[in-house]
């Protein structure tokens, strides 16, 4: 019987893995030489929540109604919730396999806390509060996890830290424990599908990109961490090689990432810009850098406000929709179009264009559930992040992150490597994150639900 092993590396960047360092990564190179590989187009926005759930369900953020970590639950001004696993209402691979009587091992896949039952075992994701929480299915697996790896580490405690030596130690410890647990589960549990996600790649990119990348404005060629990401990739390659011992001749192996990474040139202070342009009015004038919530919003005099992050979500204050809406529904499209054009025109600190792209949700998604942002903004082709604070000495541009050091942003393309019986060798263009789940189901001989948005990458007769 065919099996599938999916090794997810959050944020793993195709240019680093395929172009820069492949020769130093013998296990991944072996898979690349044997199988199909290439860039994997992520969803928009390319962000961990909801990207992994989109991949595992082959559904868009619009289908899931999840547009980022924090989502509006309704059109009130304060109805924000963190999208946890219960927010995902679409079947993911392990739900479908459970229904078909097949076993899954699910380890650390974002969107799996709180845990829900399945046929097999599950250890929940980085959004788990702590090992005090109910983080395994079944419950009894908890004791075994601590026997095998000690305290299981969901994430680094603070990856935007200045103590980088400590961060490095934490990332390695977390990664080693997760792969040790993966090895143990593969050894002791029946499985038709194994799927894990390692967060360390993402944390390393955010923390050490500027040390590696000469194009980064804060790059220090003499810095001690120049090879930190590269060494980590090599370390992960060894751990991947160890897991491959569990892949027999009938096992398809996938290495995937949910999005890539690129240098961060800076941040656009989107709410400060909205304030200066008269879209957003606060109840008090900022005294130094602060959040909009701290000042309070003068809603009857506000047209739009935004949430920051690796991309920005911009919301219009629409009469009849928001509690104190100001934009007449009849003017909504005009206001939105004008705002989008102006956001796209924001230049860098020297007045040069940065190539911002503003999306309307209905153009991105065939179906728009829940409360979507009115505009989804990728500043400067994602070389710039969005910053939500207002006030302070800076203008529209900032080169410090309001939540701590961070020198990488997310890139639109992650990566995929697939190897196994009959899978052709060679690079492949045009692969999409939404194709992953239909591909896995097809290889496992399962029907692909009609609601899935992607298509199998490999046709069984040809495999």
């Amino acid at each position: 019987m065919s099996k599938v092993m999916i090794i997810g590396l959050d944020c793993a960047e195709p240019s680093l893995l395929f172009e820069s360092w492949l020769d130093e990564l013998p296990n991944l190179r072996g898979l690349v030489e044997e199988g199909t590989w290439g860039r994997l187009r992520s969803i928009t926005p390319p962000i961990t929540v909801p990207a992994w759930s989109c991949m595992m369900a082959s559904r868009t953020p619009g289908d899931l109604g999840i547009y980022g970590f924090r989502n509006r639950s309704d059109h009130s001004y304060d109805g924000l919730y963190i999208a946890n696993g219960f927010a995902v209402r679409e079947p993911r691979l392990w739900d479908l396999l459970t229904r078909a009587g097949k076993y899954s091992i699910v380890l650390g896949v974002p969107g799996t806390f709180p845990v829900r039952p399945l046929k097999g075992v599950l250890v929940s994701c980085f959004l788990t509060p702590s090992t005090e929480s109910e983080y395994t299915f079944p419950h009894a697996l908890r004791a075994e996890v601590s026997d095998v790896v000690g305290e299981y580490l969901f994430d680094c405690t603070n990856f935007r830290t200045l103590d980088r030596e400590d961060l490095l130690r934490q990332v390695y410890e977390m990664t080693d424990r997760r792969f040790a647990l993966a090895d143990h589960l593969l050894e002791t549990r029946p499985w038709d599908m194994f799927t894990m996600v390692e967060m360390g790649t993402d944390r390393m990119h955010h923390a050490f990109w500027k040390d590696m990348d000469p194009a980064h404005r804060k790059h220090d060629p003499a810095g001690p961490y120049r090879d930190a990401i590269r060494k980590y990739y090599r370390h992960v390659d060894g751990l991947v090689g160890n897991l491959l011992r569990h892949a027999d001749d009938d096992t398809y192996v996938f290495v995937v990432s949910d999005h890539g990474a690129k240098r961060m040139d800076g941040g656009i202070r989107v709410n400060e810009w909205l304030r200066r342009e008269g879209y957003l009015t606060t109840l008090a004038e900022p005294d130094g850098r602060c959040s909009v919530d701290q000042l309070g919003v003068d809603w009857p005099n506000t047209i739009a406000w935004a949430e920051g992050g690796y991309y920005s979500r911009v919301f219009l204050n629409v009469r009849g929709r928001e509690p104190q809406g100001t934009v007449e529904p009849a003017h909504y499209e005009r206001v939105r179009r004008e705002l989008a054009e102006r956001l796209e025109a924001i230049p860098d600190e020297n007045g040069k264009p940065i190539g911002t792209v503003v999306h309307r949700p209905e153009d991105l998604y065939p179906q728009v559930n829940g409360v979507a942002p009115d505009l989804i903004v990728h500043f400067g082709d994602l070389f710039w992040r969005a910053v939500g604070t207002v006030g302070g000495d800076e203008g529209i541009h900032t080169f410090d992150n309001d939540t701590g050091p961070d020198d990488a942003n997310h890139a639109q393309h992650g990566l995929l490597i697939a190897a196994g019986p009959g899978i052709p060798a060679g690079e492949r263009a045009g692969m999409d994150l939404l194709d992953v789940a239909p591909t896995i189901l097809t290889l496992l001989g399962q029907p692909v639900p009609a609601t899935m948005r992607g298509a199998p990458l490999f046709v069984p007769e040809l495999v």
Binding site: A87, R89, R99, P117, A140, A143
Partner: protein, 530 residues
């Protein structure tokens, strides 16, 4: 008008439903799945009818509700006591609803004897005895049902002829009569919650699972599902605002049966008492012989030798175990190990504390190494009781729960006769006329549809979630501290914020000897009692 109809199909599984729905064979279930949200309902460990249904209707684990198996050992530890619904130590969903003044109708839910005194009506499930009262509430209803619908065509025994052939007409008659009865009761009582259970899918899995694997839609399994689909259709036509379809566990292949006490004897944990009691042996032998006779002859014999069964049950308690040399023994239907613990067991020899843990560790290590005759591992996990259960009733549960690989294996544990043959089988039906060829799985089903439910949500639920979900669908508060959660992802609206009232549970009552013997006979024919 009925707000919610819960239709329970014991053992129903998507591994049968999905292929049949794909072929257009189960139109009513298909419509429910298509209109609403559905997914796997993860059952208890063990996924066994008494613990599974009771966990479903209480929303708490067996450590709190106290119902585990079809039988338990009494205070002496060596007498068999049959379990019934009154052994439940936690309120069921209908207890919460009755306390809130809501009208309910409960029909054939396993482990509901004596029929609960709800506002509305209740007909007890397979733990009801034809030789005991209180199978129906209100009491006067029993006679009226008999007058209107004739003798009860229940589904509490395998649908087998005396020669061991499947009798699918009997399945159909039982389903149709149950729906006839329910239609009349709903008309008369207008319950806000209707909860009806059918046992036939479980029975046909046990008797004919390989037939399903070989013949699919042409199999007897498929025929029973079509019969159940007709019943589902008629119940849905009663027009409740919302409907819920559930099963207590799934079903699948049975690869083999292991005699855990024979295994424990081989491993040196259990020693048989070679002397035995001649009186016990004589009666056991007579009963065993009697079970092999055709039904007609057995009926004659019963008239000639009344009470043989009753006496047999009493005497079975005198097990064939040499307790003073036994450190552990198996007990129950699906695979449990009990340490012969000093201070708890009548002739306990294992000291509490370190010795007890040592015996458990040793048993776990050895059980995990059990292999099939072909040499394949068959034990997926051995659970210490406290890993699975918590609560005041947990102490009465087995010390170790042996979870066989996918439940494709069963561990039976006869104590009344010395056995040395580890590989065993289970024969069921009158006189053991039919082999037991299917078993249970963890994966049951749940589907929700109606005005209060979202469509298209992929549910992934635990069996403890059903009780709070029912309460939410009836706009009642969910009591704090349940082990399950309401399936909010599939529901519209918000949960009630009223405080939940405290609810008491009725006292435990035991069967009379005659009723006990009758139920025990039925459970033996079902393969659940040695």
């Amino acid at each position: 008008m009925t707000a919610l109809s819960v239709i329970g199909l014991d053992a129903a599984t998507f591994s049968v439903i999905d292929p049949l729905v794909a072929e257009g064979q189960l139109p009513n279930i298909a419509q429910l799945l298509g209109d609403g949200s559905s997914g796997v309902l993860r059952s208890t460990t063990h996924p066994l009818t008494p613990v599974a249904w009771t966990t479903m209707v209480t929303g708490v684990n067996a450590g709190r509700h106290g119902i585990w198996d079809f039988s338990c050992r009494d205070e002496s530890g060596h007498h068999v006591r049959l379990v019934n619904g009154s052994h439940r130590r936690a309120p069921a969903v209908w207890d919460h609803l009755s306390a809130a003044g809501r009208r309910v109708g409960i029909v054939n839910v396993p482990f509901t004897w004596p029929a609960p005194a709800v506002d509305g009506f209740a007909i007890a499930g397979l733990d009801a005895s034809s030789r005991a009262d209180a199978a129906v509430h209100p009491a006067g209803l029993a006679g009226e049902l008999r007058r209107r619908f004739g003798a009860s065509a229940d589904d509490h025994a395998f649908p087998l002829t005396d020669r061991g052939e499947l009798d699918l007409d009997r399945v159909r008659r039982a389903c149709e009569q149950r729906v006839d009865v329910v239609e009349w009761l709903v008309e008369r009582f207008d319950p806000e919650l209707l909860f009806v259970v059918f046992m036939s899918a479980d029975h046909i899995h046990h008797l004919a699972w390989p037939d399903w694997e070989q013949r699919g839609a042409d199999s007897a399994v498929a025929e029973v599902y079509r019969t159940l689909d007709d019943a589902v259709g008629r119940l849905l036509a009663l027009g409740a605002r919302d409907a819920m379809l559930v099963s207590d566990h799934g079903g699948g292949r049975l690869d083999g049966v292991i005699d855990l006490n024979a295994w424990l004897a081989r491993e040196g944990f259990l020693h048989w008492d070679r002397g035995g009691s001649s009186g016990r042996k004589a009666v056991s032998g007579a009963v065993a012989a009697q079970r092999l006779l055709p039904a007609g002859l057995r009926a004659q014999l019963k008239r000639l030798a009344p009470g043989v069964r009753e006496r047999a049950l009493e005497l079975r308690e005198v097990s064939a175990v040499n307790w003073s040399r036994t450190r552990a023994f198996g007990y129950g239907a699906f695979g449990n190990l009990v340490v012969n613990l000093r201070g708890r067991e009548r002739y306990g020899i294992v000291a509490p504390g370190a010795d007890y843990e040592h015996v458990r560790d040793d048993l776990i290590a050895r059980a995990l190494e059990l292999t099939s005759p072909e040499g394949n591992p068959i034990v997926a996990a051995v659970h210490r009781r406290e890993e699975l259960f918590s609560g005041e009733a947990a102490a009465a549960l087995p010390d170790l729960i042996v979870e066989f690989d996918d439940y494709a294996w069963l561990g039976k544990a006869p104590l009344h006769e010395p056995s040395s043959e580890i590989w065993s089988e289970i024969r069921v039906g009158p006189g053991g006329c039919a082999p037991y060829v299917g078993s249970h799985r963890h994966e049951g089903i749940v589907a929700l549809a109606g005005e209060s439910c979202r469509a298209g949500v992929a549910l992934s639920a635990s069996i403890e979630d059903v009780c709070p979900t029912i309460l939410r669908l009836l706009d009642e508060p969910v009591p704090p501290g349940l082990d399950g959660r309401a399936l909010d992802e599939a529901l519209v609206g918000t949960a009630s914020e009223r405080p939940a009232a405290a609810v008491a549970v009725p006292e435990t009552v035991d069967y009379t000897p005659a009723a006990s013997a009758e139920v025990a006979g039925r459970l033996r024919d079902l393969g659940y009692l040695e």
